[in-house]
């Protein structure tokens, strides 16, 4: 190997990587089980800062693609990280690690819920948590609004598109496919024209 300016400085901690498919599965299972109300923060802290499977820059690049693609972002991300080390098998093992045990936990919770669903306290607690969950999801959207300030379309046009989308989905209850196709194609086309060649 020839040295190049890109070679990490000597004091940089050594890069690591998953030892085996089992290591991959267990790691992603533990990640998923730590993630209450969002796994992304845990993934970043564990894989980049603690395990050092990837640098922060690599993480940001993978995350951008995971966000572009449809599907749960964190699940997409785990798929891509698994693929990076072990190909198709790695992708499937990472996916299984992210979903299998959490799925069992969630079904167990649903069973417990069913046993006590008749109890007015439980029904009330679920109603309360449902209200909080609704707020959490809306807040995620509100937090991301800051990203629109730097948007190529400019803030006013972004707000107009967002308001149209909100009206169509939340108030008029239009099917998602029409809103996504109509407004999505419009927004992407306008953005395409604004971007540098």
């Amino acid at each position: 190997m020839t040295p190049s300016p890109d070679v990490p400085a000597a004091e940089d901690p050594p890069r690591s990587q998953p030892r085996s498919l089992t290591d991959l599965f267990v790691s992603f299972t533990l990640l998923a089980l730590q993630g209450f109300g969002g796994v992304l923060a845990v993934v970043q802290r564990e894989l980049v800062e603690k395990k050092r499977w990837m640098t922060r820059e690599e993480f940001v690049e993978e995350w951008a693609v995971a966000q572009i693609m449809p599907g749960p972002n964190v699940v997409n991300l785990s798929l891509m990280i698994g693929h990076r080390y072990f190909g198709l098998r790695g992708a499937m093992v990472a996916l299984a690690g992210m979903l299998t045990v959490p799925l069992l936990v969630v079904l167990l919770l649903a069973l417990v819920y069913a046993q006590f669903a008749g109890h007015p306290g439980v029904a009330g607690a679920l109603r309360g948590m449902g209200a909080v969950a609704a707020g959490l999801i809306a807040a995620t959207g509100m937090k991301l609004m800051g990203a629109l300030k730097m948007h190529p379309l400019g803030l006013p046009l972004c707000i107009a598109l967002a308001l149209l989308c909100f009206t169509g989905i939340a108030l008029l209850r239009l099917p998602l496919v029409y809103v996504l196709l109509g407004l999505g194609v419009t927004a992407c086309t306008l953005t395409y024209k604004k971007l540098d060649r």
Binding site: L99, V106, I169
Partner: protein, 190 residues
């Protein structure tokens, strides 16, 4: 609630979730309003309570939020015949929501990584931003207002709004908020 589902119904549900999977840019939760429209308002396979419980239980549990989709399949199956049908429902909804998006992601991941500077790739990624953000807020709105039938039901939307404001402006751990919501509900204040 008791319903009867034919094989054609299961297939239709599978197909519907496959379509939603391809549309779920920004996460599966952005397709929740359409799931509500399809499962609760149109097909009558789920009650409003079951729909909200599915989202709330998945939020309260650790793991990716997409598991609320599994609980919807579980509840539809329970309504249609019991726990075994429920597990079948989990299989149908989870495969439906996961297969198209993960296949697409797998195929596109390496390609997208190599071509991330292409103009149309950036246009798609940035252009969708206002739409995806509005979808998240709309999802919160629909969940908060699902059970509001009269002015006396103002407490749920109020708690949702207060939660949203707290999460937006502070770094308070989400478990405190979920716990507070559970307590408020347990004692009948919500």
């Amino acid at each position: 609630m008791s319903i009867t589902l034919q094989w054609s119904d299961w297939l239709a549900m599978f197909g519907h979730f496959m379509v939603l999977s391809l549309l779920s840019v920004g996460g599966a939760i952005t397709t929740a309003p359409d799931m509500h429209r399809y499962l609760v308002d149109r097909q009558f396979w789920l009650t409003d309570t079951q729909f909200n419980a599915s989202v709330a239980i998945a939020q309260a549990a650790p793991g990716p939020n997409v598991l609320f989709v599994a609980l919807m399949g579980w509840h539809v199956g329970l309504n249609a015949g019991g726990p075994l049908v429920g597990l079948f429902g989990v299989l149908v909804t989870m495969l439906g929501i996961m297969l198209p998006s993960t296949t697409l992601t797998y195929l596109a991941a390496s390609w997208g990584h190599r071509n991330r500077n292409l103009r149309w790739v950036r246009a798609f990624k940035q252009g969708m931003a206002p739409i995806v953000i509005a979808l998240l807020i709309a999802t919160g709105w629909i969940l908060a207002s699902a059970n509001v039938k009269s002015l006396q039901d103002w407490r749920v939307p109020l708690l949702a709004a207060v939660t949203a404001a707290i999460v937006w402006r502070t770094r308070l751990h989400l478990l405190w908020l979920l716990g507070t919501g559970a307590l408020l509900g347990w004692f009948g204040w919500i």
